[in-house]
């Protein structure tokens, strides 16, 4: 076999990595290279350096070390039974690509994942070696996200956490049963144990010893995970239930939802329909309501009788329409918790309302300037110069928001 060029390998190994949704480069420790002795900086906020026509941001060089894999996960392009072309980067090739891309301001850093080759320990140790070269030989101070292999040895995980900003382990599917069915080599309990281990190490790295000495850092940007939506029959309620458990149990920064998308050379065992992008979007909205708006899981799923979120309207609007008795709210009196439940009001809008109404009563026009989406909020609020009147009680309120019914296409 002729030797592959770096360009050919890059084509194969970036194509193989695109099904990982995570691209965040935010939330890590602040550092820079103003001293002239290294390359890179991190401000704590992420930067999206480009956008692909699929609407996803490109912040990190997201590649696989290799797409050879001994596992046979049905949903994955790299499973052992797939006929996609295979390639493998050497550690130096990955290091060089990362540094050269970074110097040209294409990326914030590296997101390195890998198929499982030989054994979990061998794979993890190669990935750690790449991170070590970047940090110690190239003095690279940009962002590194390492995908963690769940059953790798503890000292490799410790080393990965010392070098990387973020670690992640994908739970892949919403239930243990689905994982067993579609990813026979993966063990859900082992994945949970690995996430527990990352949380404990992260907490230990924050504790100063009694002498005030800091222990070595461990993944300052925390850990995240990804779950594939639409590959099995799980409802949104099941998916969100899993997310709340994961957030509570392992202190995850993010759960990413990835709509199952057709892949080249797909397995016959899975449906090849176009990816449920709207469903993915609704799940993210619900996830935000759970984390930043004080909603409980039951509140969101109670507005979705069959366990799936309404695809036509967002989950907050769906909840508000199901609880019309609580509205309209007076924006000059309502509490923070109440305001957060108004459709069309975000956390920032609510903060602005609270800070301004200390000085004066708010008028309808003020809300517009504060960034509220009044088309949505209008029926649910009162302000000086505005009452929704009969609007709040119209029976067809939902149809004002939902898209008009569409005739089914014959083709």
């Amino acid at each position: 076999m002729s030797k592959m060029s770096v360009r050919d390998k890059l084509a194969i190994l970036s194509d193989a990595a695109k099904y990982d949704a995570s691209c965040a480069s935010s939330g890590s420790s602040k550092r820079d290279s103003r001293d002239g002795k290294g390359l890179g900086s991190n401000t704590g906020a992420g930067i999206c350096h480009a956008y692909a026509p699929d609407g996803r941001c490109i912040s990190l060089l997201k590649i696989l070390m290799t797409n050879f894999c001994i596992y046979d996960c049905a949903y994955c392009i790299n499973r052992v039974s797939s006929n996609v072309p295979r390639a493998r980067f050497t550690p130096d090739e990955v290091v060089k690509l990362t540094v050269e891309f970074y110097r040209r301001n294409y990326i914030e850093g590296l997101f390195l994942s890998s198929g499982i080759i030989r054994s979990p320990d061998a794979t993890m140790s190669d990935m750690v070696q790449i991170a070590r070269k970047l940090r110690e030989e190239e003095n690279f101070r940009g962002y590194i996200h390492l995908k963690t292999i769940p059953d790798a040895a503890p000292e490799l995980i410790a080393e990965a956490g010392r070098l990387a900003d973020r670690l992640s382990i994908n739970v892949e599917l919403p239930t243990d049963a689905s994982v067993r069915q579609h990813a026979p080599e993966k063990k859900p309990e082992q994945i949970r144990k690995a996430m527990a281990d990352v949380r404990l190490r992260g907490e230990a790295a924050k504790d100063r010893s009694h002498t005030g000495k800091r222990p070595p850092r461990f993944a300052p940007a925390g850990q995240s995970t990804q779950v594939i939506v639409g590959a099995d029959g799980s409802s949104d309620a099941v998916i969100l239930g899993q997310s709340t458990r994961l957030y509570g149990s392992y202190g995850l920064r993010r759960v990413y939802y990835s709509a199952f998308s057709p892949i080249p050379d797909a397995s016959a065992r899975l449906p090849l329909v176009s990816p449920p992008l709207v469903r993915e979007h609704r799940l993210y909205q619900a996830d935000w309501l759970l984390r930043f708006y004080g909603f409980g899981l039951e509140e969101i799923t109670s507005a979705a009788p069959d366990g799936n979120l309404d695809l036509e309207i967002d989950p907050k609007l769906a909840w508000a329409l199901a609880h019309r008795g609580l509205f309209p709210l007076d924006v000059n009196r309502a509490s923070r918790e109440e305001l957060l439940r108004v459709p069309g009001f975000g956390v920032r809008t609510v903060n602005r309302i609270l800070s301004t109404r200390r000085h004066r009563a708010l008028r309808y026009e003020d809300l517009q300037r504060m960034g509220a989406l009044l088309k949505k909020a209008r029926p649910f609020i009162t302000a000086v110069g505005w009452t929704p009147g009969a609007l709040a009680d119209t029976a067809d309120l939902r149809s004002r928001f939902a898209p008009p019914p569409e005739q089914l296409s014959l083709f």
Binding site: S14, K37, A52, R104, E189, R192, K193, D265, R358
Partner: protein
């Protein structure tokens, strides 16, 4: 009408200085006309003069200073007039800054937001090409960029912090930033230069093409974040039209392609992997612990991290049984390591019971909880779960054969004696266990932690201590040497 000229490099600081002068001189906004760069056409009654030096200190809210700093870089020629007009009002009404509904302020905030966005996009979309030798000790790069606002000056320090070990220049029509040998300076604007070809650009395009998923085309989402006006200076944008045009056909082809047969190597690779897995360490291998780790006897295993087995000498004379693992126990896989465990360690030590001498376990081996925000709230296991998990507890009792078991809390009492009667009424007594080993009943240390009143807490702690001391005596455990002399006080 007085005309105030501001320099095009260092504009923000110059405006601030001039505005302070005019404000302290009481100059109203109607009498001033601000402009930046080369002087424009002078009006009939215009006079140019240096701004007065501030006579007295002028205090404005910090938030306005930050706002003005950003707005100064906006491309709107009227930006300084707007800033000064608002500053004039602010002087008598400092609370104006927190009025998010004020129309003038809202306009300035919108300008500020536009500048911030422009700065952010500049950090993201500037593309360097290498202009020197890749072998040089300090490599050199250059970029041509056309920002919407005059954001080079405020954004250049970001690039200096990021690319500290190389020389670079960012050229724009208005002003250029040059970073050489670790020193940042600004020069007047330049026309578009011809930058040398850069081999990394082809690799970057390869990456851009291949990270795109044709099955999820969302052109609008891309354009709202990466507007077309930036495309002409981004090498990867050249690939976009073709990627969009071919995406539907590529997605269709993936869906229509018949599933292929697995390659011949599949079976070989999997057989080898299986063998490797058998050689690989995969958790506790023998007996009870291994079996427990795979327990699916009740649904609790789906949410918990792991089953937490008992811990201690296999021939311990005394066994302590709690309710179930908590948050810390679930994460670490060891019993009694959380707050209740630490309290138990302390009270047991006071009672002369060393943790290392006893076998510690729980009636239920998986953590039962309800997630709330970032926390997990403990939930009491129900009778069915206790009953199914007794399988493991009984096996542990059989294995250790203790002389006495201490049941801490109602759940442990139920599991060990089969009776769920009121615990506080039975506390301190010894009942016969289901397997013939006597069971001493006491309260769970977590119960002490949940009692708010300090006096009641101390009383409950005393009860647990005396029960444990009684258990120690009954199980025939020796006192640790340090406590042997004062045994009378403990019991």
């Amino acid at each position: 009408m007085q005309v105030v000229s501001l320099p095009s490099i260092g504009t923000a600081a110059a405006w601030r200085e001039a505005a302070r002068g005019y404000l302290s001189a009481g100059e109203p906004p109607e009498d001033l006309r601000w402009h930046c760069g080369a002087p424009g056409e002078a009006g009939l009654f215009d006079t140019a003069a240096a701004p007065p030096a501030p006579a007295r200190s002028v205090a404005v809210p910090r938030s306005f200073v930050n706002l003005a700093e950003s707005v100064s870089w906006h491309s709107d020629p009227a930006r300084f007039d707007r800033l000064y007009a608002f500053l004039w009002r602010l002087k008598d009404a400092p609370q104006l800054m927190s009025d998010r509904g004020d129309a003038q302020l809202a306009h300035l905030r919108r300008m500020e937001k536009s500048v911030h966005r422009c700065q952010h996009k500049m950090k993201a979309f500037v593309r360097f090409r290498e202009t020197g030798s890749p072998e040089a000790a300090r490599r050199s790069f250059a970029a041509w960029f056309e920002p919407e606002h005059r954001t080079v000056e405020p954004t250049a320090p970001f690039f200096a912090r990021r690319f500290g070990d190389m020389d670079w220049r960012i050229l724009t029509p208005d002003v250029c930033a040059v970073f050489e040998g670790g020193v940042l300076r600004f020069e007047p604007g330049a026309p578009k230069p011809g930058l040398p070809e850069d081999a990394s650009e082809a690799l970057w395009l390869t990456y851009f093409r291949n990270i795109f998923n044709p099955a999820r085309l969302k052109v609008k989402a891309m354009q709202s974040e990466m507007p077309k006006k930036y495309w002409r200076n981004m090498p990867e944008a050249a690939a976009i039209p073709e990627l969009i045009a071919t995406a539907p056909a590529r997605a269709r082809a993936m869906a229509e392609a018949a599933p292929t047969l697995p390659p011949a190597r599949t079976a070989r690779v999997q057989a080898a992997a299986e063998q490797a897995a058998a050689e690989h360490w995969a958790g506790p291998q023998d007996g009870l612990a291994a079996a427990l780790a795979g327990c699916t006897r009740c649904p609790l295993h789906c949410a918990a991290t792991q089953a937490v087995p008992g811990e201690g000498p296999q021939d311990a004379a005394l066994m302590l049984v709690g309710e179930q693992p908590g948050d810390r126990e679930d994460l670490t896989g060891r019993p009694f390591v959380g707050p209740a465990g630490q309290l138990l360690d302390a009270v047991a030590a006071e009672a002369g019971v060393a943790r290392e001498a006893v076998y510690l376990t729980n009636a239920v081996k998986h953590f039962k909880f309800r997630p709330q925000g970032r926390r997990r709230l403990h939930q009491r296991p129900d009778a069915g779960e206790v009953q199914r998990c007794r399988w493991w507890l009984d096996a542990e009792v059989k294995l250790v054969q203790p002389r006495l078991i201490v049941a801490m809390g109602a759940t442990a009492a139920l599991a060990l004696t089969g009776s769920g009667g009121s615990l506080m009424a039975r506390r301190g007594t010894v009942e016969s266990g289901r397997q013939g080993v006597p069971v001493l009943l006491t309260l769970h240390p977590a119960h002490i932690l949940r009692t708010p009143d300090p006096a009641a807490q101390a009383r409950l702690r005393g009860l647990l201590r005396s029960d444990l001391a009684a258990a120690r005596a009954r199980a025939g455990l020796a006192l640790p040497a340090a406590q042997a002399g004062q045994a009378g006080q403990v019991a």
